[in-house]
Symmetry: C2
């Protein structure tokens, strides 16, 4: 019997609670525990473990890899928060804000090494394959972060380049996790390729939905609207709007977030008025549906029994906040 999403999460959290680091030097290791115990949805380890069970693998055997991808994910947050000058992470001070940049750099480095230490705890003959997947995934995440920073200073980013960026920055860690889980279970190459594509499409759908909720989320559900607009970030809505806009509309999209003489609410309203006029909400929703449906149909094509597939489908729906 395969575990449900909730059961997998509980198994993972139980292992995580037992994670130990050396006590000293304190400023190297305390931020690691702080960061790892800060919550989060544990999406990547859960997907890894669900993938391994889907192909008949054991949760216990894959657990070191699940820990490794979660430690890696938290490493990226430590360093991203320095680069983005972010003071808050999951409702608490970021490591960067709490201990400063030097501690966040060095503790982050120690976390990246710790991820490899966890990987090296895998039993069996698959270590080399798993490390190769992990390395490629990790470099893609770095590439995605660099493209994201590059985009900040670019006036215009093509829709294609934006998709390529989020494929690296958001999807790569999900697709790598799914591949590692399947590889550890001894899945066939064809299925490993498919689960990679499943997680890639799902990651894109997830990121595009995140982009959309920044402009069209429900404030009643506690979602703060307009953060990306105020930061002048490239999002799917922005790159779509720029590709459709008149010269006049482009001027509004490019300059509004830098204006000094209007309120934040006015800035958000100005940009959203252009989005509405260009119908980018609809375009984004279509793209989300396309990617999500593609993910589900790739999932259906895996050569596994339906009772093994059902938990991955549940994962996909949970990720997108959908009941059915």
């Amino acid at each position: 019997m395969c575990h449900t999403n909730d059961e997998i999460l509980e198994l993972f959290e139980a292992t995580l609670r037992q994670m130990q680091t050396p006590e000293e030097p304190e400023l190297l290791y305390t931020p690691i525990i702080y960061s790892m115990s800060g919550g989060g949805k544990r999406l990547r380890p859960v997907l890894l473990l669900l993938s391994t069970e889907a192909f008949g693998g054991e949760v216990a055997a894959a657990m070191p890899a699940a820990m490794a991808v979660e430690v890696f994910h938290n490493f990226t947050l430590l360093h991203d928060d320095i680069m983005d000058n972010a003071a808050v992470r999951r409702g608490k001070p970021s490591v960067y804000a709490k201990w400063g940049g030097n501690v966040a750099i060095l503790s982050g480095d120690a976390m990246l090494i710790t991820a490899y230490k966890l990987l090296a705890g895998l039993e069996g003959d698959k270590l080399k394959r798993v490390i190769n997947i992990f390395n490629d995934m990790a470099l893609e995440v770095c590439e995605g972060q660099q493209y994201d920073m590059d985009f900040e200073s670019m006036e215009r980013v093509s829709v294609e380049d934006y998709i390529l960026m989020i494929e690296r920055k958001t999807s790569a860690l999900l697709s790598g996790s799914a591949m590692i889980g399947a590889t550890l279970a001894g899945a066939k190459d064809d299925d490993i390729k498919k689960i990679y594509r499943f997680a890639t499409e799902l990651g894109l759908a997830f990121q595009l939905q995140d982009d959309m909720l920044d402009s069209y989320g429900d404030e009643a559900l506690g979602k703060k609207i307009g953060g990306d607009i105020l930061e002048g970030k490239q999002t799917y809505l922005m790159v779509q709007a720029m590709s459709r806009a008149t010269a006049e509309q482009r001027e509004v999209l490019r300059t509004t977030h830098k204006m000094a003489d209007i309120s934040d609410n006015e800035k958000i309203a100005r940009v959203k008025a252009v989005y509405d006029a260009l119908d980018v909400k609809h375009a984004t929703e279509q793209q989300i549906e396309l990617r999500f449906e593609r993910a589900l149909s790739i999932l259906d094509s895996l050569s596994i029994a339906e009772e093994r597939r059902v938990h991955l489908r549940e994962f996909a729906r949970n990720l997108m906040g959908r009941k059915k």
Copy 2:
């Protein structure tokens, strides 16, 4: 026949010249090539390759590991230069100074991952053992850097703690490199332990000599005197002096570098006068000799033929700038 130090260095440089990275994103990969082609003595890869040959291994088979330790070493420099706010590295602008902190963080991360990519290129069944040695070595280097930063804000560091710090910060990468080389050659566990101790002692001798030359180097040989003193750094001379000083002398040692009303030359002279009065130069020289002799005698105890040992002895002497 084993290669000489010079031949090994040439083989390594030839491989390094062929190192390739993806072209994009440019700001992620250009700093890697810039950093790797910036020279340096290639101590760690040369020691790794000499160690492998000493135990009958092939240079070509160990080359990916030699590249990995050099990439790792340069990764530490990228991140250290941010933490130390260092503008110059090997006579050129540091990556941090040339491209800024964010690029140095992220390119450094990509270098650390690249080091593991290189390791994963090793043939044969020793990958897991090598990765375990590499992971432990890498974490020790991070610990050493953290202790070094901790010491900056401490008034007094014990001689023992100082030695433990440089064992991590300087020796660990040398001893790890030597162990990896020996492991790849299939050396016996006892010899692997010995070559670890050889490189640990040698690294200590090297770092202590570096500390001493900051105060007692030959300016005629282009050595700038007193940099550590002006920065108020903990060095072997400082921790030895503090352990022997009167209350009055301690005051001089602790406060001189922060004084605003005297010149750099006067600061250096004041601190060195205390060093001279406490004879710490002699104590440091003794410690260097002790560590260096210990390294050579461990080397002599390896269960290998003398013609295989001779190149490691040459490495040790070159490192210490000694002809015989």
